[in-house]
Subunit: 227 residues, 2 copies
DNA sequence: ACTATTCTTCATAATATCTTCATAACTTCT
DNA sequence: AGAAGTTATGAAGATATTATGAAGAATAGT
């Protein structure tokens, strides 16, 4: 059974963003937009971890934690809007296992998730290795092999490649990919992706001038070859 | 602390054979040649797993299990001389976790050991001696040799190096490494790792300015060289 | 309680990466 | 072929991350 993560936040955009990349990371994701719904889902789905926004209407994160913790010890990662110490202290006192301040990048969230899962003795998500043709990408060890040659990628290059390889043949718009890199920290300029792709190609393509792995789809975006 | 295995058999030859092999695999091994001695050693050493011969003079395997299980739930693998169902059934009923019939090949035994340890949630055996290139790290004696020169490491430096060397090429995040040092303690500050790494490099790297063993992976963490 | 060692924090210097921008190259459409 | 729009590319500035020295805090040993 895949590791299940419950994401609780009233902001639709944030929820779907988090859901998208956690799914891509190999987690099973269920979502709730308020505390009551979350309590219900937690009972039903028995998630391995909960990602919880503190600021929610109706029932806030603290209240949810209090109620949930009466029955379960599920590890919880808090999403806090501000960087004030108050949040940290209160949240951790109530039994949260870690916290991430908004805005955050996907990479930061998944790093914390993995750390918490390891700390609480859960299993890693299953699909940690992506293998397409000659390219092997291992999320856990954060290594990429082309043929039998390791290549060093920057964080952005690595995340882009992981996204593309997660669904070979699927076209990702630059906006999709930008979300992937920047998450809720959204200030980006789509052309940035072009540059990352160029640099990535320079590292993994035998002939970067006519790419074999990462193809351009004119007017739409990029995709990993499906062959 | 290395995973400890208690081997109980009255055949000296078999015991030393198994002992040698398991030691080579990175386990810590203690041995007993009869039931009484085994009970004593089990109390004293608190082994993570017991390998037990059924056929022994004085106190046989079944009797040992009965007495031992009054106090402990240590997983037990039985060594049975014959392939008869009787042994299997009785043994497993008494609470053995697996059994291996003699004669057996070393690799079969270790495979079963690992399977049982995994099943019962024990930690994988951590090889006592890690040897990568010019660096030799011995967990038991807590010593590190670079070339033929012993170097003195602080506890933190030693643990960091051991973690990194346990999976060369794998990138460890600062959070990962902090957990190794501090366990579940929470107040850790990731930058602390940087300093330990710097100090570690100063002790093991020929040229700490351009490290050969402990590499930095920008934006992610550190790894031991995979070459 | 004192000393020596180790650990952590902090400030700043050194690097690597990311983003932007200008321009060249390419695609598509007419 | 030409026009319009899109993508590729090299380079430079902005940003983020890591390395480092040093000082204070914590810990262990005597």
């Amino acid at each position: 059974m895949a590791t299940t993560i419950l994401v609780v936040d009233d902001e639709k955009r944030l929820v779907s963003l988090v859901e998208a990349y956690l799914a891509q990371e190999g987690f099973r994701v269920v979502t709730a937009s308020n505390g009551r719904e979350a309590l219900f889902l937690a009972r039903q789905e028995k998630p391995d971890l909960i990602i919880l926004d503190i600021m929610m209407p109706e029932m806030d994160g603290y209240e949810f934690m209090r109620l949930h913790r009466k029955e379960y010890q599920t590890p919880i990662i808090l999403l806090t809007a501000r960087v004030e110490d108050d949040d940290k202290i209160i949240g951790l006192e109530l039994g949260a296992d870690d916290y991430v301040t908004k805005p955050f990048r996907p990479r930061e969230l998944t790093a914390r998730i993995r750390a918490v899962l390891r700390r609480t003795g859960q299993t890693e998500p299953t699909a940690t290795v992506l293998r397409r043709g000659d390219i092997i990408l291992d999320r856990e060890s954060h290594t990429v092999k082309v043929g039998n040659q390791f290549v060093d990628l920057t964080p952005s290059e690595f995340d882009l490649l992981a996204a593309l390889m997660s669904s070979p043949g699927k076209v990702f718009s630059r906006l999709d990919l930008l979300d992937r890199l920047q998450g809720t920290r959204y200030e980006g300029y789509e052309r940035t992706i072009d540059v990352h792709i160029k640099n990535l190609r320079g590292k993994i393509e035998p002939d970067p001038r006519s790419p074999h792995y990462v193809k351009t789809v004119y007017g739409v975006g990029y995709r990993f070859t499906r062959d």
